[in-house]
Amino acid sequence: MFYLITFTLIYLGITIYFSYLGYRRTVTVSDYLLAGRQVHPLTMGLSYGATYISTSAIIGFGGVSALYGFSMSWLSFLNIMIGVWVAFVVFGKRTRKMGKALDAHTFPELLGRRYESRFIQGFSGLMILVFMPVYTAAVLIGISRFIEVYLNIPFSTAYLAFLLITACFVIWGGLKGVLYTSAFQGVIMVVSMMAIGVTAYWMLGGISAAHRSLEALTPFVPEALKQAGHRGFTSMPEAFSSVWWYVITTMIMGVGIGVIGQPQLNVRFMTLKSDRELNRSIPFTAIFILFTTGVAYAVGALTNVYFHNTYTEMPVQAVQGNLDKIIPLYIDRFYPPWFVALFLVSLMSAAMSAGSSQFHALGTSLSRDIFEQALLKGRSVAETTIVTRIGIVFSIFATLIIGLILPESIVAVATAFFFGLCGATFIPVYLFGLYWRRGSKAAAKASILSGFFTSLIWMLLFHEHESAAFGVCGKLFNVKCLAGHPWNMIDPQIIALPISFIVFVVVSLLTRPVREETVKKAFVHI
């Protein structure tokens, strides 16, 4: 407890200082003229990485890796290639230029102004407002599971306490210095994850020896999983089996591709001054992702060796099936108390950096996208401040309720759900908005609506994981889901994304393009 209190106080002190520094740096326009807002590439890289990678990746996907093994390394590949290189180079550069040209300040606003549609801005803002709390809840559940294991207190108490801390952080100025605090939080995350990665491999005798020890545990894969296509912790699942479809389409592609549609990440590109800053931050972000997700997924898989060698049971059995508790239990049992406390602080960093960016996106979605643009038709009024505050309090409350009603082993699933939903809804309009001048307003509307509703319908009626959980299909048709193998295992994004792409192209070719002057303005710097 001594270590925890000491580290937490130091951490909070530094966070508050950076928050104040960030606040001071954003208060005057003259700061900008004096290059006061020049963002160092390292700051941008760490901040982007810390917003992208949360407790969800470390606790949730780390736990999933304990079950599915090194097949999850393909997700860390996508995290870097799609989440960093494609996001920065293919999307980020044009997002920055177009964002400035259209004077857009939120992701829904960029889409709304590009296609001259208040509906697009309002609907996108509403979607974020309604569904992002699911992801925020997943992030907070991640750290709460750790607190539950570490302090041996009930999950609901841990969850309530941490949500209260995050709420205080958000309400008392946390949002204004997001860039600097998240960069600092990123440093803590990368240092502690590197320490975990190095020690996990070192204690097992090196990289090859650790992987061979894990391979020897293939016979201990749970029988039900073996029958569903699991072939061991160092093998990919059997091609086209249930496990294969789930791991590839939901766990790897859901988050790996869906990251492109994440509003709290895309908005970061607009704050940069030039492509040079963007180019320079790519290496830092990529290394950050490698040392956080790469390590989390590898260590997640290796926990099998530790638990089996020490307790002769697999981690999934040690946590009674709750995957979200595997990484917390591993850290708690195999590391010295001071390190466990330090790791908890790094999880706090991960949760707060992602959480505050999410609340930032929620706040701006409500104030700017829904209230000012969609409801007030572009007018800016003093009441916006009050509406934003009510909105943030409401979303904190929604996060609280969602977090308490979600079942166990949910962190990675809820994250993949939100990433997949954003991917299917936003990627086509976003990509074509940046690259295709012919795209029309009607096409953008149709694409967003088709991506969103196809995802929802697929989730509620066809994809077994969600349809069984929500129970709508059961009530309507008296069956768990309407589709048989393999359709019941294919992630909604894999179905909805191609549909929203096709809808965009077809409707664009059939309808009037966006006005020439708007297109010219949007592409003026490109």
Binding site: F70, W85, T234, R368
Partner: protein
């Protein structure tokens, strides 16, 4: 193959590291590209920044 017998898992492990190396090389090669874009005309950026500060001020 680093203790992996499945070539797909080995490939996943390697391409993860290679993708990070690729990003480092890309960043290094392009570190000076895209610096000056509009010959010192920052009116648009200043307008954007003014609006951004207004937006941030409305947050808690």
């Amino acid at each position: 193959m680093l203790g992996f017998s499945d070539p797909w898992v080995f490939a996943g492990f390697i391409v993860t590291i290679l993708s990070a190396v690729f990003c480092v090389i890309y960043g290094a090669l392009n570190r000076n590209r895209g610096g000056i874009e509009k010959e010192g005309d920052f009116r648009e950026e200043i307008q954007w920044e003014r609006e951004e500060i207004e937006l941030i001020e409305k947050l808690p």
